[in-house]
Subunit: 417 residues, 2 copies
């Protein structure tokens, strides 16, 4: 599927051996999202035994249609270390941004094609409720051809899920946009989920372009009170079946996961997913261990993401401070990406010597109060420099402790490595 | 030690029974830091079986001497939910702020008296290296009389620690300010730690005023590379002995802990402390699972703090975005307190129904898109409101998804509790 030279380069970047990378791809424990038409300057591998990866969501909405703004967010995401980007545009003309990203982006691009299909159906039929599978299919083909690297497809939500949900109501309902679109569609039309019934056809397309499937968790809990409920787990079982279908067709696949999950259920959720989905890579949206931190959910997500990654989650979706409140701006994207990088790195440093060395290096300079040398080693050197600016670059203290700097006090004691 | 009516009130606030509170105090698994001369409008109990508490550090430095600014930080800390405050002033006149805090604060006040002693010695002798125990003792007596509720005393760092450290150098050295002052003092004077040799005397004073002891971790790791090293653990053993001394004298005591600790060592550190310190409450300074996030260490600390609290840490010290970079400003204090509250609440919601209900309530309103009702339930309603302001209060969507709001889409499907 991939050229040896390409894999060799990627293995080198990942600090693993080529045979290990090949083994993980072979056993489907890792995926490389890369449309066969694309050449990315920063391709990535997601899965067990590799560094934890992060994805940033961008995209227009009906209220925020500016494509140029979203392109700036792409730059910001890449600058702060995002490994992938998803274009979740659901504004008037979702394909414009996508084309620009494919043209420019160094990192893999994912989409949720049902969004564009819904927008088209709204335009044509007045409501997405009248969306046909043809409309979805045309969208999938177009996006595949245009170079999308991975598709989020919500094939795990079924007609019976809606019925079950009606009899077992939730606090948070359905918080997946794709999931809600399909739920409403099934509710109105009384038919089965079209991306479930046509899953094989979609896989043939994915195979043709080497598009990785990312099985969406339409029924992820959107409230702590709904965490790890029957609905979530029953969808996970469907996704486990679909993973096998992907593999049978030779299509790379990862699985999306929650959501709002209390801290004591995160480890279990990761292990459950890995078990039920046969070791397929796990892509988590959070998880958020509390619902009450709107405005600070990048922090909530970094907490859940660290615990999730430590227990085996492979891919973290960036949550920004704007989550639950508004369309994120560029600063929100920066804050969200940095928070996710903290989560990913906190786990990577346990597993990769080059990551561990980053901490050792910065701490060495810090202990010697060589502040200027520490800044380029932080996740956001602009912020670090800005915070330190009241002190002259030549000074060896900061405003916190002034002359009672602990590091300066013991400097003459010769206690440092 | 405490009046029944006072304990009854506190138990009610904590959502525990009076007998449980009494039992935990009796078995020393909890402390109520409260100088016998004080009456606080928001007293607190710290320890096993109670809600996780957070402390905010404020205080002047030689570079940032404004007392009025620190008083604003006190208001900010209390507004966002800090349970205690430490005045770590090490500026010219550290007692001015302390007196103001005692006068005004609703929450318990802690100090590190060695700071004021060091400042005095610098003034009198030209260097803190000439500080006498008399100077420390006078400071302790003054602060006790003036109404400090808990003292951080670094009695666990010994002469032999310095010798050991010289032969087993660290990447980060000594990052505790109090620890560094005492280390340097011992290094220069060749004598044993005066707050160790005079520990009994200090306890008599603490007993007299019912001041709680907070045994400082002078040798906490300040770099991931130094985590859980011999130095840290040997100090912990000394602290475990000192805990017994406190109990023998009838003095309430808690123990301070790290610091920079990788995510895989946090659980073990908490369990080790609880074991070695005989179940005394544990007050952690972080822990920070990475060193590379300067400017965002409130996030790093929220990650480590959540994991620590989940495994038994009782008291979290707020780390602000300014950590490692500068004296924090008021916004840093707010961001730090909110991050710590996220950590504390993420654990409390598992253990206390009233905390769990907070999440359930906000998620219920959120699912119904009653945004205005969600804001007062968030940790920082000003930020939440500000983020949402582009949308009219009457609107039932936000700028993120616009008309494709998942919650709105399924609204007519009757799926919510």
């Amino acid at each position: 599927m991939f050229k040896k030279s390409f894999l060799k380069e990627l293995a080198k970047k990942e600090k693993v051996s080529l045979p290990f990378l090949e083994k993980q791809l072979q056993s489907k424990k890792a995926v490389i999202p890369l449309n066969k038409q694309n050449q990315l300057s920063k391709p990535t591998v997601i899965g067990e035994g590799f560094k934890v990866k992060i994805n940033t969501n961008i995209g227009t909405s009906s209220e925020k249609p500016k494509v140029s703004e979203e392109m700036k967010k792409l730059d910001t995401a890449i600058k702060y270390g995002s490994d992938a980007v998803m274009d979740l545009s659901i504004g008037k003309n979702p394909s414009i941004l996508r084309k620009k990203i494919v043209e420019k982006s160094a990192i893999p691009l994912g989409t949720v094609p049902i969004y564009e299909a819904a927008v088209k159906a709204e335009k044509k039929e007045g409501t997405f409720e009248k969306m046909s599978f043809d409309c979805i299919w045309e969208t999938l083909k177009k996006q595949a051809k245009e170079g999308v690297d991975f598709f989020t497809i919500h094939s795990g939500i079924l007609k019976k899920s809606i019925k079950y949900l009606k009899n077992n109501k939730r606090t948070g309902g359905i918080v997946s946009r794709g999931g809600a679109i399909l739920a409403r569609w099934m509710f109105v039309n009384g038919e089965e989920n079209p991306v479930y019934t046509n899953f094989d056809k979609i896989l043939d397309l994915a195979k043709k372009y080497n598009i990785s499937m990312s099985l969406g968790d339409a029924l992820r809990p959107g409230a702590i009170a709904d965490s790890t409920d029957n609905l979530q787990i029953s969808e996970l079982h469907v996704l486990g079946e679909l993973v096998k279908k992907c593999w049978k067709k030779g299509v790379q696949v990862m699985v999306e996961g929650p959501g709002h999950i209390p801290i004591n259920e995160i480890e279990m959720n990761i292990k459950l997913q890995k078990k039920i989905c046969h070791g397929a890579p796990f892509y988590v949206l959070g998880p958020l261990p509390t619902d009450i931190a709107a405005g600070y959910d990048h922090i909530t997500s970094a907490i859940g993401g660290t615990v999730a990654a430590y227990h085996g989650a492979d891919f973290l979706c960036v949550v920004t401070p704007a989550e639950h409140l508004r369309h994120p701006d560029i600063n929100d994207i920066r804050d969200g990406v940095v928070a996710s990088k903290i989560a990913a790195h906190s786990v990577d440093l346990l597993r990769f010597k080059d990551e561990w060395d980053k901490d050792k290096k910065i701490s060495g300079y810090r202990a010697q109060r060589k502040w200027q040398k520490t800044f380029p080693l932080t996740l956001d050197q602009n912020k670090a420099k800005d915070y330190h600016k009241e002190i002259k670059p030549s000074d060896d203290i900061c405003t916190m402790c002034g002359k009672f700097c602990s590091l300066k006090i013991i400097d003459k004691c010769d206690l440092l490595k």
